[in-house]
Symmetry: D3
Subunit: 294 residues, 6 copies
């Protein structure tokens, strides 16, 4: 269970409120790169963690930190909305042509929250918890977390560059630092779990059951047969188990053929037979053309 002291992890100051920046900050609250997402993600990973208890504890701990980031950013949004115009008349006072302030505002900050934050992104799209990646595989989850903190730090840097407000820059410089740490933390957890020994994820599946001739091959799909070269087309693989190779992709299966529609399935009458192609049962034939690639 959880506790609070009602205080902010780091001070939140706004010198010159800017309703458009309030809108931008929403991305860091309710966007896919935002804090609600990482908070719930680490929380659900912790709640479902199976295996050594330390990973659960570590996840839960950082989830708890992220709650405070939602709090900081929501406070920042509210403070940026102090003095926002509530009517077109007020807006006109700032700009005779009009539109300078209100046009940049998330209207729901005025209409739906009374000058406070929403759990939505910079376009007003509500956060949706399908972005909470908690796969039950801790290594996959750690990579998901590195990703979240990478796109999170990219976002925080863009917000930092967007504003000139010293208070906002200070707050963001703290959040950027925390994103730095969290990138490191999840990469450290991957090393803690065995590093390259954790690959391929999941490492509990016997690799001899996969079609191993395709396990380390970069497939080319260019019509001219060319293949973009890089670290991924030659040299040892990242898990140290094989060599990368480049391979043009060719179809090993035939054109798929489904059975005609059944008369009681709501299709058109014309679909109930396969005129010109015979009436054989629906199935897709095709021997694996292994020699095609040898």
């Amino acid at each position: 269970m959880f506790y609070t002291d009602g205080k902010l992890q780091f001070p939140v100051r706004v010198e010159k409120p800017n309703p458009a920046f309030a809108r931008a900050l929403q991305q860091a609250i309710g966007g896919v790169e935002g804090e609600i997402r990482v908070c719930l993600q680490y929380m659900f990973q912790a709640f479902g963690a199976r295996g050594p208890a330390k990973y659960r504890d570590m996840l839960l701990n950082t989830a708890t930190e992220e709650l405070g980031h939602i709090e900081m950013l929501s406070t920042a949004v509210a403070l940026n909305l102090e003095n926002a115009p509530l009517s077109f008349k007020e807006d006109m006072a700032a700009d005779p042509v009009g539109g300078a302030v209100l046009n940049g505002t998330d209207f729901r900050h005025i209409l739906s929250t009374g000058l406070a934050a929403l759990p939505s992104d910079a376009n007003g799209v509500p956060f949706d918890a399908s972005h909470v990646y908690a796969s039950g595989n801790l290594a996959a989850d750690m990579y998901a977390n590195v990703t979240a903190e990478s796109s999170g730090r990219v976002l925080a840097v863009r917000l930092y560059n967007m504003t000139d407000d010293p208070g906002m820059k200070e707050m963001l410089s703290f959040l950027i630092a925390r994103d730095t740490m969290h990138q490191q933390q999840w990469l450290a957890a991957i090393e803690d779990m065995g590093g390259e020994a954790s690959l391929p994820i999941p490492n509990s599946f016997p690799q001899e059951q996969e079609q191993q001739q395709f396990s380390y091959a970069y497939f080319g799909h260019m019509t001219d047969g060319s293949i973009p070269e890089g670290r991924w087309t030659s040299g040892p693989t990242m898990d140290g188990k094989s060599e990368f190779q480049a391979m043009p992709s060719k179809p090993m299966g035939d054109k798929p053929t489904l059975a005609p529609a059944r008369p009681d399935s709501g299709a058109q009458v014309e679909q109930t037979s396969r005129s010109g192609t015979g009436g054989m049962m629906g199935r897709v034939e095709g021997a694996i053309e292994r020699n095609l690639l040898s």
Copy 2:
């Protein structure tokens, strides 16, 4: 632009159609771990790629491969639905008590598609493109791609373990192999882009502008002051720039105080003053208590 030959990259065979497995396969088509997602993700990363052209080409190439995986899995769903019961009466024929087959079916396979795949997940939730991560930062995107292929391979392994159909196992063993390669490929691309030199992401932000005393510190939020230990609490950081440390988290800011509600903002009259707390302007005070942590 794109081309097709109408054939399958790998043969798709179903020996014993199973409508419940058709439902399970939907997760690999329209789920967040699925093929529509990776296909569009690599495509949008390619379309927006700035910098060296080879990354764009590599991404576009693999996006094109993933299109063929959507095709394979959609074919697999349709073939698993051949012979599915279309009515409660048919269902009863298989099981006198009833429900053995129909209950396990995605009803929309019967009602909405006429026994074919949906661009939805195993619960019928439609794919939503907010899961297409394309941040404009190639390193962040590569980690997103490792994540996608990790959760994708976890899913494919679970589907492999769920079924006994030899054709389905064969198809999945191919997709598992491709997921192995794609994990390797994106990790190789990270190395290609500088490996640890790419950290922290984005590496274009001057780290002296972040609050560096918090950049490599694991914060503890446990009420008893304990901190879960691991690779993330001591030793050199993953980017080689510092040492991990453990640090109890303490509030550096005060309780936030917002201005009272404005009379024309749709609040209650009672909110327009701050009875008992004085009438000071809305702002959040708090010097950064650096000494708190020294």
Copy 3:
């Protein structure tokens, strides 16, 4: 900011794991009546609270309690999934016809989380934060909270009635008690804020600016002119300001008439004039027929 001790607010025991009940419990986690919703709702109401500080504190405090309920329910889901079948073969072992267990399972519990909770409802629809009602009007929010705890308790009671597991019944009897309190708490807060003096919400709008002849009238829309009678058609109004009356609804406006489509607006040519109705400018005429109701 927030803290945790990693323990459960109330013990969570499952005597006989039941994957179908795990699915049902999801409604209490990620459903619109669920705990993620109330937790975020109280949190965002607190973060944006303007006016007396005590309401902010009260909200934040209860938001923090609700975090622990998400934790309890997520644990309950994971425990109900222990021993769930991972394959059709395993499922067959329990029931020769098959389908008895797997058909009732949320497939994503097997495929996406590895036997753990999702932030989704009982149908697998992810929680979406548009359900976080935080209007900036504390009285409106208190009613939203009464609503949330009412539908929440209704749900908890239905879950209690659904299961026979003593551990689950015990946990639910605790959550039901908390919902009882929370209903009371928000009603108490309404009284604390003035009770009927808080009506109509918002109470900051001068009622003489509304069309007061319609402010306490129940409109009838039945074609036979009948009006369903009850406390809402006669007697003093709930705010003590007037008397309820019943009034048949009649149109006070005319049929609306929009301007023809502009030639460059992507309409059909036929829409660019109003054949048969003249070419007058788009507007909707209609004097307010006050006498109609006198």
Copy 4:
């Protein structure tokens, strides 16, 4: 079944069309506080109403009124869009710097509807019917309806304050009056259904089956042990059955412990045991520590 006369319930006039206000009005059509929501909410509550028929009739009647509000507001949006610029060139004519009008417009009003209303909110997010609360418990539903009309009236007041157009103010003053009535109506229905006797909702669950020691206790989660005081911490409860009390929240359960991951569940190998914590079966232990609170 339903009928129409094609006329407006109340006249809709726009003296000076304003495309930005058209965007704002969308919140009242397709927003969570809007008319589509209340209309469908009352309709589904009516369609599923069990018990005395008068509640069904009352609900259906008001649902029918709300249909006319969608019509009025959609007309208002279309009229506010007359004369909106369709191109950047037209926009420039109004403001040499540009952006004054188009920037404030919902682009889909130009691109998707040809200058007419959308069933979406002020940010263009489409209405989603998960907001239709119809719980099957009439008292819970009545509170949901009070909430909807409270946030609806708050929104209408904000729109009224935002605009200077006399026609729009007149229309909104009518809608505000109707929201006043509808707040009264649902509160009256609660009284009609027994008032405080309807508490706790649902009142059909025997309260002796809930953990009654927690039924009227406000839990404190502040780390310093303080508890925010108010009507909710002392005095008789709102249902007249008990006394409020304040109680610090303490964990009654232990840390949860899940079983190790199963080898065939797609986890990492490392998760299949609980190193350092022994190999006991997954379960959460913990006697209810009642004495903790005595």
Copy 5:
């Protein structure tokens, strides 16, 4: 504005309640092929109709009919849920192995509505109003309506085939008849608006401004150069203005080249130049290779 008489347009009888069929019926209420969609679609098309008034009237009239279909189907769902089991114990009574009834149920019918309809589809996905197509172009809208009634009738036929209940078959045979009429109605409206003269939609755009050499050409994208033949590759076009032709698709543009990332845009340092490709400004070159196709 609207009126009701509270009666059903057509009788709704259920002889043998079936909770699984209640779930199936949800698709016809809240599915993309369902009645909420057509109702709101015709309503919004009417509210925004510009041009001759008769189309607005016709649309509004049928929208009003569809309201009654939502009512009928919601009633059918509630009646199919009478006697549904509310607990696993009840379910066991019907089937010793268990799962026969509950597994096929939408759990939210038990947990969220108390045995009544939801505004959701057969998988519990809530209706979302982005499916309300109202483009401001009446001809486009009429085709959208033909589509809606076509998929609606396909769905109704599948439901008819799924059930054996005489009451349900009778109700569906009525809805199927109405879908027949509505298909005819919208096609008649297209003829009323000029039939093939309405093509291409919109017919207000001067066709000499489109790249007319591609206006009637079916493009082939098969790698072997083959083109699927049919009515669409030869013969007069459907608007009578030209002849269909088959044409292999070839790229007329080059590979796109974007400018390098700006240093302050949150990208990686490596993206800020285009190593190996020179440093030219971001743009996509390419003369239109008209001769390529001549």
Copy 6:
């Protein structure tokens, strides 16, 4: 499977980048009228096509073309974002009052993609695959495709009218031409499948099983008994099978009556009986009053 050459189907040039137009173009990528939708729609129709193989081939071929349109438009968005301001300071440089450029921008183009396209619409709402109509009935699907290309061409024309950039006009004139062709193509496919013989859709359901007295009747729901006249109220029906007629709609069913709530269903106690209306079992009575309409 699929292939690419990395080139653009048609050149994409932007002479004067305009971030607001980048936002507008998003509608054509991720909007419901956009290219992701048609691409996936034709693809899923192809993957599930039952019946003559030529329709599958034709669909797959055009799906492949649409992939290239996503690519073109995404490139157009990125090019329109070159030179977009990344901060409020930069924005001020263009307009002393501020807001001229940034206010019109999709902030996520700056914050989330680093100046590249999103798979979202002009309001930032992500594409959601529920818009992929693939019904398993080819005739229904062809009408869905005519609809998609009609609203798609309406959108493209509006974008063409919005911009003055010669490069953008050229690109759009190509896409408009392709939409012209695709409208023709799907209409041709309907003719290929039998034209009016394909009606009503599905044509596999025996019409004698529908309530044929209502199959060709336009229902009037106006309270004054008037019925909007047109091609749909008289003359031969579009399928040549009957004559249109106009018919006032009257209720054939009674008021629906559901059973009282069950005591264990979470309702209020008051709902468990039907006071005043007797205690009869839940059902809806009503003989079909055929004579009512004769």
